[in-house]
Amino acid sequence: MTAPGTGNAAPERPQTIVLAEPELERLRAAGRWARSLARTGMVAFSMVLVLLLDVGVRNGQSLTRAARAQQTPMLASGALFVLAGIVAIALLWSYAGNVAAFFVRGEPALTRSFRRLRQFFMLWTCYAAIGAFLEFIAAWTRF
């Protein structure tokens, strides 16, 4: 996928940079928070899944009724959030794991972690753009 608005090629950069202690501490914090976010996401998605299963098994009709009561764009937005969320959790988990590997083994783990981060932002930008479009349709139908 081509990056949006990349423009001209980036100027030449030095080959490598040595990270100072404050930057390393920030990188550790980024890894920890990314893992924390992935864990929270996993817990939240698991609980939603268990709840949906519980309601679906015991009273499937109410689940169908609740889904029908929603506007189609909002329903599509919810389904999209679940799909994008699951992939995002996997990417964040990989990012944090590779940051941790960088502190143990050095490169190329940091390159892999920044690649996962780029993929995460690509995914989330596409999700947010589709979400904004669906939100716009939902707002439009309210007028």
Binding site: A29, A30, R35, S36, V43, F103, A132
Partner: protein, 157 residues
């Protein structure tokens, strides 16, 4: 493996991320820098989409208020959509900081690496805290649902 910390404002500690035995100088390779620079347009695009979403939510807030006659419902609409706009604005602030630092790196300014990593940490911290609050509210609602027998009623049998 997660470990506990006495400071509640510190990120959750994990044994592999808090290890001190780094293998010599920690070097960021040219390929890693290229990956960071390639992320810049996506972060900028995400910031733009977030701005657009805030505008759409503001329009939806006006539309919803126009359709709501009862004062209590208006309050709920303002609280939910207003809260969503406030959260998006907080995320937008961090994304703009990240995008600005990324743009500097793309222009060849390697001193932007520190601010980029700092912005990554701030972004994940903010979203993580927001997600934790959201999950906490969800658990609270779920607990009320279970307590009232609305969900998981088989527990009581």
């Amino acid at each position: 493996m997660a470990t506990t910390t006495s400071n509640p404002f510190e990120p959750p500690r994990t044994t592999d991320l808090d290890r001190a035995d780094a293998p010599g100088p920690m070097v960021v390779s040219a390929e890693a820098l290229r990956e960071l620079a390639a992320t810049a347009p996506w972060v900028r695009a995400l910031a733009s989409v977030t701005m657009l979403t805030i505008a759409i939510e503001a329009v939806r807030l006006i539309a919803d208020l126009g359709h709501t006659a009862v004062a209590t419902n208006s309050f709920i609409v303002i609280l939910s959509t207003g809260g969503s706009i406030a959260i998006s604005t907080l995320v937008l602030r961090v994304l703009r900081r990240y995008a600005a630092a990324s743009a500097r790196l793309r222009d060849g300014n390697t001193t932007a690496l520190g601010p980029i990593i700092g912005a990554q940490a701030s972004y994940f911290k903010l979203v993580s805290v927001l997600a934790a609050i959201g999950t906490g509210v969800y658990i609270f609602g779920l607990a009320i649902g279970i307590g009232s027998g609305r969900f998981f009623s088989w527990i009581y049998k």
